[in-house]
Every structure is written in structure tokens, then in C-alpha cells.
């Protein structure tokens, strides 16, 4: 009974968040604000992805920006090729390739003439990389902080690689001057409500997928692995397979977030694969509550929202980073399970008196 009440309260919470997100364009029609909010929603999607791997499975992936960045480049490559008639030099090459004396479009750029292929690649490339990485580290039983170190190292390497291969990637500048994404006759202008809804849809979908996973037995095993991965083995579960699964789902969601980010920003750059972004995702999850999908999402919305408004307010121009740092430390020290733990205790508190009255007799009849 109490469980039922609890789960109803959570469903209401998720529904409320979804409605609030979807209602934003109705209340606001400032294109600049919509674009900014779409960005926050994408960050929230990233936080949901990290919550699945870190909060639920205990894998602190510090290289999550790799999945995000690869997703964004996949989308950006397709959108770059779409700009060709205006931007290109001779032979239909993207501008930066012309400047770098690349004679013809490299083979791995070719498939990105198709948006469908680009979207598939935006998911498949991060997932494939996660599968390979996961296979190596989890089969070798690498655990704990070493997972974080390896994923972080991978992030740095791929970041350097992208900067270094300027001829094919645009280097430091990344891929700029992208055309709008056009799918099924809809033009996803970065400043439009359509693009906002795309980001909102991605966040809601990632929450639904995440909820489906954590409410399955697979999700339960993931949490058991977080608690004590060795013990799980002696019950007959292939722990590495579950870890690889969690990492890959998380990478897939991050890839989608990355693709949308390229659409919303109209460029992709190595900053999308930065250590700073990876650490920010960790902070969002820690503030909101890493072992709660909705907590992680709200954490990202709050932190990026506050950060955005502070950094744009002239009086905080020099101090906003300090204020953010202080807020972060305060939350993590006072609420180790994040802000969502406040809601959790409130719900438990309110559901208890009712539940105890009804649940106790039920127990008695079951036992006696």
C-alpha cells in the first residue's frame, strides 16, 4: 500500500516535470530564451544518462562528453554538407577543407550526405565505442576510480585527436556555419519552438527509457552491482555484461543529446568533448541526486539555469563561478544524496501515517 502511494507520488512528479517542460513555449515566445532553455534540456538529458551509469550502476564515467561530442559531430557533419551550395569551394567541399587543401571529400564524410545515416551514426558511434571500451575494462574487472581514470583519459585522447585532425574535423574551430536540420518538412531553426520541443522530447524519452530500465530486473541487478559487484557474480549474473549494457545505454542517450546540441548551437566544436563538460555532468547529478533520474535532470536544469542567469547578471560577472562552487559544496556536504533526497523524505513522511493505518492489518492477515 505504502509502496503504491510512493510510486503514485513519483509518477505525479515525473508527469509534472514533463508538463512543465512542454508548457514553456506556450508561456515564453522569446526565441533567445527558448534556445537557451533547449540547451538546458539537453544538459538534463546528459544528466539522466550519467545517472543510469553512475547513480544506478556505480560506473563513474568521466568520459561522457565523448559520447556527447561524437553525437554532435555526426549531426554537424550532415548539416555542414547541407550548407554546401552556399559555403563550399570548388568540387563541393566544406569550406575548412578547402582552406586545408583537402582535394576531395574523405570517405568517412560521404555517408553523411544522408541525414538518416547521420542520425543512426550519432547513436551507433557512441554506443559502439562504449561497447568496445566496456568490453575491455569490465571483462578485465577494472572497477571504481580506475574506470573514471580510463574514461577520462579516453576523453582527452579523442579531444586531442579531433583538434589535431583539422583537415577533416575543423580542428579548434570545429564545424561551423551549419544549416538547419530539416526532417519531414519541418525546419528546426535553433531559435524555434520546434527545436525546443525536439530537445524536450529527447529528455522525456530518455526519462521513459531510463524508468523502464530501472524498473526492470536488469535495473535491479544494476543497482545490486553498484552495492557489491562481486556478490552479484555468485548469484550467476554476468556482471560485465550488465555494466557494458549500462554504459552503452548511457552513451546512446548522450549521443542523441549531442546531436540535438549541434542543432541548437548550429555548430560543433572540441569544447563539446571537454573535461569541463564531463565534470559538469557529474556536478549536476551530484546536486540533483545521482541515484534518481528525475533528480539528475532537475539538478542539471537548476545548476545550468542558475549559472546562466548569474553569469549574465552584471553584478555577478566576477563572482558567479565562486557562488556556483559554494552552492555545489553546500549541497554535496549537507545532502549527499542530492536535492531529490529532500523530496524523497517529504514523500515518505506524508505517506507514512495513512499507509501504516491501512498496511498493518493487511500484514497481520498475511502472516496469521
Amino acid at each position: 500500500m505504502r509502496q503504491l502511494l510512493l510510486s503514485r507520488a513519483w509518477i505525479a512528479g515525473y508527469a509534472l516535470l514533463a508538463i512543465a517542460i512542454l508548457a514553456v513555449p506556450v508561456a515564453i515566445d522569446d526565441p533567445y530564451l527558448l534556445n537557451k532553455f533547449a540547451r538546458y534540456l539537453i544538459f538534463a538529458t546528459l544528466a539522466v544518462a550519467l545517472s543510469l551509469s553512475w547513480g544506478y550502476t556505480g560506473i563513474l564515467n568521466l568520459g561522457q562528453a565523448v559520447s556527447f561530442g561524437l553525437g554532435s559531430y555526426c549531426m554537424a557533419m550532415a548539416l555542414k554538407l547541407k550548407t554546401m551550395p552556399i559555403q563550399t569551394g570548388t568540387g563541393g567541399l566544406p569550406d575548412f577543407m578547402v582552406w586545408n587543401n583537402v582535394p576531395s571529400l574523405p570517405w568517412f564524410w560521404q555517408p553523411f550526405h544522408s541525414i538518416g545515416v547521420a542520425i543512426a551514426a550519432g547513436i551507433a558511434v557512441p554506443v559502439g565505442l562504449a561497447l568496445i571500451l566496456g568490453w575491455f575494462i569490465f571483462r578485465a574487472r577494472v572497477a571504481g576510480v580506475y574506470v573514471s581514470i580510463i574514461t577520462l583519459a579516453l576523453l582527452v585522447i579523442i579531444n586531442l585527436l579531433i583538434i589535431d585532425q583539422q583537415r577533416f574535423t575543423g580542428g579548434f574551430n570545429g564545424l561551423t556555419d551549419l544549416s538547419d536540420l530539416q526532417v519531414m518538412g519541418i525546419d528546426f531553426d535553433p531559435y524555434s519552438a520546434a527545436t525546443y520541443y525536439l530537445a524536450a522530447g529527447a529528455l522525456i524519452l530518455s526519462l521513459i527509457v531510463g524508468l523502464a530500465i530501472i524498473n526492470s530486473k536488469t535495473g535491479l541487478i544494476m543497482q545490486a552491482i553498484r552495492d557489491d559487484e562481486t556478490r552479484v557474480r555468485y548469484f550467476g549474473y554476468d556482471v560485465a555484461a550488465y555494466q557494458i549494457f549500462a554504459l552503452s545505454v548511457s552513451a546512446g542517450i548522450s549521443g542523441v543529446a549531442g546531436m540535438l546540441y549541434a542543432v541548437v548551437m548550429a555548430f560543433a566544436s572540441p569544447t563539446f568533448l571537454s573535461v569541463q563538460l564531463s565534470l559538469s555532468i557529474v556536478i549536476w547529478c551530484a546536486v540533483g541526486g545521482r541515484a534518481s533520474l528525475i533528480g539528475a535532470a532537475i539538478g542539471a536544469l537548476l545548476v545550468t539555469g542558475i549559472q546562466g542567469s548569474l553569469s549574465e547578471t552584471p553584478i555577478f560577472l566576477n563572482t558567479w563561478l565562486l557562488i556556483m562552487g559554494a552552492l555545489f559544496v553546500a549541497v554535496v556536504l549537507l545532502l549527499p544524496k542530492g536535492l531529490i533526497s529532500l523530496v524523497q523524505s517529504a514523500i515518505t513522511l506524508f505517506s507514512r501515517p495513512v499507509a501504516d493505518r491501512t498496511a498493518t492489518p493487511v500484514n497481520k492477515t498475511m502472516v496469521g
Binding site: A212, N215, K217, T218, L220, Q223, R226, R231, R233
Partner: protein, 247 residues
Amino acid sequence: MALLEVKGVQVKFNGFLALRGLDLKIEAGELRCLIGPNGAGKTTALDVICGKARPSVGEIVFDGHKTSRLDEHRIARLGVGRKFQVPSVFRELTVRENLDVAQSKTAGVFRNLGPRKRHDPALQRLAEFVGLADERDEPAGNLSHGQTQWLEIAMLMAQDSRLILLDEPTAGMTAAETRKTAELCRRLKGQHSLIVVEHDMGFIREIGDVISVMHQGRLLAQGTVAEIEVDPLVKEAYLGSGGISHA
């Protein structure tokens, strides 16, 4: 053929031989007690059977499969369940969720992706059996030591392995609880094979079947409680630790 055969197994820890040629044979449905002074290698014997430790020499055959090279989860899937000396449950999961994890009939990632059953009558009965029905929604980390022991026993029953390895299941239990555990072991035998490591001779007398005595990584003696208690070799091995009944 025996369900489990341990043949001349040696286990080395940084040069130290914890097992030096252990031989053990367990028939299907048998309940075997394993005793021996501290450091005799009893826990290591269970470790090597379930794959936590690996033999440097020798061979382990479970139900016709050589298990010495198999991953732990493969050995578990063949039908070997283990209770550790230090109770280990999933502390952040509730009692009910712990039991659900233990019930591992289907182990694949994708086959477990469907919605989870919230009310499993079999698991509910198990929780009642070990007296944890009222705590079923409590995180296991909130349980007392005794309750944790019972939860782990219930988890083993949920796992329903053919061979169950119990390492000092009654440690920290009251006399009444110890009796209940003994009764449970008697009930499980026949359907399951059990190896029970214990120090409590009262408990061993109660479940008493064949007893294997270990000493310094080897099998020292084997027989009924009466035979073991008068065995001069066993007496000698327990010298200094106050005799077999106080071990």
C-alpha cells in the same frame, strides 16, 4: 558419479599454501559438515569450489563440468550457491529486492528487461519463513546482524542452487535461531547438496551426517560425529585450541 569432486586441490596465496592437496567428494542430496581449527582452510575450500579462489594444482568437477577455469557466474549458473562467512547482502536494496536479485533463474541482460514483478508470492513466503515479512521494504543495510544472516539464508533459498555452500551460518545467532538453521539444513538436504562449515559442535550434532575434518589445508579425517570425536588425529589437531567442542 558424485555431484562434486575436489581432486588434489592446492591453493596458493603469495607462496603460502592454504590448501595442500584437498580431496572431497559430495553426493547429490548429501549434507556434509566441514570442520577444522582456525586457518585450516575451510573457507578457502568453499572459495575454490565457487570460483573465488583458483587451484594451482588439482581439479574440481561439478556435475561433470570442470569448474577450475570457469568464471564465477558460470559456476553459479551450473548450480553452486554460496553464503559467505561475513554476511554480504545488498545494503541499499530492500529485503524484497535482495531476494529478487537472488532468484536468478534468468540471468541475461536482455531477458531481464521486462517490467519487474512487484509481488512474488514465493519470495513473500521466503521473507515470512525467515521472519522478515515486516521488513520487506526496509533497506537491508538497516537490518540487525542476525536478520542479515537470515536474509542471506533466504537469498540462498531463492537462488535454489543444487549445491549450497554455507560458511558459518550460525555465527552470532541465538540458540533458538541455531536450532532453526539446523532444521532448515535438514530440510534442504535431499533436494540439495550442502557443505556446511561450522565451529558449533551442538549444531553439527543436530544436523550430523558425515563430517569432514580439515587441518592445514588437507582432509584429516572423515566420519560420523561419534567417530570423529574419538579420533586421535583430530584430537591432536585441535590441541591448543581447547578441544573439538570448543573450537
